[in-house]
Assembly symmetry: C2
Homo-oligomer: 135 residues x 2
DNA sequence: TTTCACTTTAGAATAATTATAAACTAGTTT
DNA sequence: AAACTAGTTTATAATTATTCTAAAGTGAAA
């Protein structure tokens, strides 16, 4: 991903490209593989990586703006903390409770043969599969 | 479910059958259908139903003891609160984000045809499917 | 260079949960 | 029965994750 894409992500999230936001966006989006994180883990990694420390509120605000713009998704998984995901396409997860880590599963690596119909007046928005792991 | 079963549930959870615990256990387990709840919702319902109010800490402690003993399961779902489930068998859920409600899906109403193998050194503990609903 | 909307930040507030410690309860021993 | 004791309940404090607030900072445009 090029720098121009970072700026696009920021603009499309209605965020001006400030120093802090560019740093967060580059950290999140300039990578090959999916990145799963909590705000806490992201904060630690950013602190380690860069000299200047970004306020936690700025990280929350920026992450939420990216989520609202569809550049991040939120994964519901065991625990109290919110997990975010740079993979915003429809996909599934392994969840390793030992390490509290998520691993992507490509949407077409899981095929569901039979599925119940939605309750009266409701429609199916999406289907999420979690494969919980043990050692 | 008879009263004797309530006492069994308590004993097998290493809980003496005190007035408060029996009241919680009866409320949770003396019912036909699955009951999904948060500690907050359970507390409200218990307060409404009975004259004596049970301390929140007692509800937390009792619910956690039931969970540890396998009489309740915890469902991971969107939001900050923990959801508990009187259905401890392997099953799936509809999740209605409008109402923040869970609805059971019988395990054999979902058939998965293709599933990826677990990462190196890990095994599959279980598979949970969430069907998110919209109006 | 002044303006002004937007931004960052530290710290306060809130919400869910867990911990603490004092008062209470009910079996068991004397 | 009275004393003892292990376990229990409870109010309240502490903790954790998140959101809010308001003051100070920033920078493009007038
Ligand atoms: Mn959350
Ligand atoms: Mn939880
Ligand atoms: Zn993912
Ligand atoms: Zn259920």
């Amino acid at each position: 991903m090029k720098k121009i894409d970072i700026l696009k992500k920021l603009r499309s999230s209605n965020l001006r490209p400030t120093k802090q936001r560019v740093e967060i966006a580059k950290f999140l989006f300039e990578r090959e593989k999916t990145f799963h994180f909590t705000v806490e883990s992201l904060n630690k990694l950013l602190t380690k990586k860069s000299t200047s420390k970004i306020a936690l509120a700025t990280i929350y605000n920026t992450v939420h703006a990216f989520k609202a713009a569809g550049h991040l998704s939120e994964v519901e998984v065991r625990g109290n903390k919110s997990y975010f995901d740079t993979n915003v396409s429809n996909h599934h997860h392994f969840y390793d409770s030992e390490t509290a880590e998520l691993i992507d599963i490509n949407a077409n690596d899981i095929v569901i043969q039979k599925i119940p119909k939605a309750p009266n007046g409701k429609k199916i928005k999406n289907v999420e599969v979690f494969i919980n792991l043990k050692n």
